[in-house]
């Protein structure tokens, strides 16, 4: 225990006395952690965003008034057999009217006009699909001889264009994000390794002296490893604060532009702050300790 505290103390004072090299290592590590975290956050928020949008997009099939309920139920059954279909909800003419009335409860004139006429709203099937890309099987059923006559229209065509666009956009953002994260991580690793190596090279003489007064390689390594870990801990603290500030100021703008997604960014940050902190701490300490170990290894060997 005495030895551990000795190491800790030695590592801490090394860190303090190393001045600008410590600062350089920390700045680089903070940048790495921020970049990685932001890409992870953006990726995850995008994923939830896409999912929300996908969930919102239904395919609606509107029926002619000539269609009888059993025709519609028949079609519902054959659609339900498809694996592409997640859920189907049958909305009868009466239900559609109820819904419409509820939606327009604040507009009494409109509701007044409805009373005079027959219910003008069509019966419909609201279909949710597992994958908005795979709707060919559904279209086949819609266009089949059996059901085509009953169908007034279906909303798939216009939706598909929107979905396709969204998909292409998110796919691109994800790929670009992944590539950028990978590039940044590798760059940061190389830079931190070199920074610590420089720091250790500058202290080559010190290490030689330590060896000469009888220090074992592991005794020499200890403080350097602690020093690397301290870089990780301090960098994590700074990075989390910077990200929090960033999100705090950015989310109003995001909510303006994207509505829900802006909100979910803040929510995501708050919901996952513990995981985020620990993940960064893990990465930071890992990078710090690993680079220290690699950089010091060569110099502590006794020949």
């Amino acid at each position: 225990m005495s030895n551990f505290f000795r190491l800790l103390k030695s590592g801490l004072s090394n860190f303090r006395r190393n001045g600008w090299l410590s600062l350089a290592s920390i700045i680089i590590m903070v940048l790495t952690l921020i970049t990685m975290s932001l890409f992870v956050i953006v990726n995850l928020v995008l994923n939830t965003g896409i999912k929300t949008i996908q969930d919102k997009i239904d395919i609606s099939v509107y029926f002619n008034d000539t269609a009888k309920q059993n025709n519609i139920i028949d079609m519902q059954d054959s659609l339900a057999e498809l694996t592409e279909v997640k859920s189907i909800n049958y909305v009868s003419k009466a239900e559609a009217l109820e819904k419409y009335k509820k939606q327009n409860a604040s507009n009494p004139k409109l509701l007044e006009s409805l009373k005079d006429t027959d219910n003008p709203l069509p019966a419909s099937l609201e279909i949710k699909v597992t994958n908005p890309d795979q709707t060919d099987a559904l279209v086949k059923i819609f266009d089949s001889e059996e059901y085509k006559p009953y169908i007034r229209e279906y909303s798939l065509k216009e939706n598909k264009v929107i979905i396709d666009k969204l998909f292409k956009a998110t796919q691109f953002i994800k790929q670009a994000g992944f590539v950028a994260t990978a590039v940044f991580t590798v760059t940061a690793l190389v830079i931190i390794f070199n920074t610590i190596k420089m720091a250790i090279f500058a202290r080559k003489e010190e290490i030689d002296i330590m060896k000469l007064v009888g220090a074992t390689p592991s005794f020499i390594k200890g403080p350097f490893i602690i020093e690397g870990a301290i870089y990780g801990i301090i960098s994590t603290a700074i990075s989390v604060i910077v990200i929090a500030i960033f999100i705090y100021f950015l989310s109003p703008a995001l909510i303006n532009y994207f509505g829900g997604i802006g909100n979910s960014l803040t929510d995501f940050f708050l919901d996952n702050i513990v995981i985020l902190v620990f993940a960064q701490l893990f990465m930071g300490i890992l990078i710090g300790v690993l680079s220290s170990l690699l950089a010091v290894r060569k110099y502590v060997k006794i020949s």
């Binding site: 030689d208 060896k211 000469l212 007064v213 009888g214 005794f219 006794i302």
Partner: protein
């Protein structure tokens, strides 16, 4: 205590060309002895010290220190060997980022001495070398003589059986130099084997201790109560 048996050490000068720093040196230093090694620069004094501290290996012959045969010493045992020997280096070799107290305590910490004991032993040794008031200073804030005394304190703090001092009075004025010599004599009286190298004629002549004269890597003279004649 220290035994050299036909030791030869060569350094590679340039492509394939080797010069002998020590050639066929045989000498024996008994426990509790005080030995002065003199010789011009390049005579082999530093090589002798580096061989004892196992910074380098002999090319031929055998080195024994404290009963250990260096030719059979494993690399991982070198740190433990060095803890038994105190070396005062010519260029002090103090750790620049540690203060005086930490520089000295480091020599204890490497061998796992408890913090409690470190706090007792370091002030004692600081008192011996007269640096109690400089404990918190860093090496760059000290004069040459003070640095030399820190180096001696570090070499002595773990109670080594052998103290090796390489030109301990090298850069010091006479008053400081004698201060250092007095410390070495006191340590020797307490039972530590002391070996020092020097250029200082005055010191050699006044001490009247055993003098080993090295010349071109060979032992030229080895006399009890010798005088400076290199």
């Amino acid at each position: 205590m220290i035994y050299f048996e036909h030791v030869t050490k060569k350094y590679e000068q340039s492509e394939g060309e080797k010069t002998e720093a020590l050639s066929d040196v045989t000498l024996h230093i008994k426990p509790k002895e005080f030995v002065i090694v003199v010789g011009h620069s390049g005579a082999g004094k530093s090589t002798l010290i580096k061989l004892i501290n196992r910074e380098i290996k002999a090319d031929e012959g055998k080195v024994y220190v404290g009963g250990i045969d260096y030719s059979e010493l494993k690399k991982r045992d070198i740190p433990y060997l060095r803890r038994k020997i105190g070396v005062v280096f010519q260029d002090y070799k103090l750790l620049p980022k540690k203060n005086v107290f930490e520089n000295i305590s480091y020599a204890l910490e490497v061998s796992g001495v408890k913090t409690k004991d470190v706090k007792i032993r370091v002030p004692k040794i600081l008192e011996l070398v007269g640096l109690q008031k400089k404990a918190k200073n860093f090496p760059r804030e000290l004069s040459g003589g003070e640095r030399q005394r820190v180096a001696i304190a570090r070499a002595l703090v773990h109670n080594p059986r052998i103290l090796i001092a390489d030109e301990p009075t090298g850069n010091l004025d006479p008053r400081n130099a004698w201060g250092i010599i007095e410390i070495l004599l006191r340590v020797n009286q307490l039972g530590t084997t002391v070996m020092m190298t020097t250029h200082n004629q005055d010191i050699v002549n006044k001490l009247k201790k055993r003098v080993i004269v090295l010349q071109n890597g060979k032992v030229l003279k080895d006399k009890e109560a010798g005088a400076y004649e290199a």
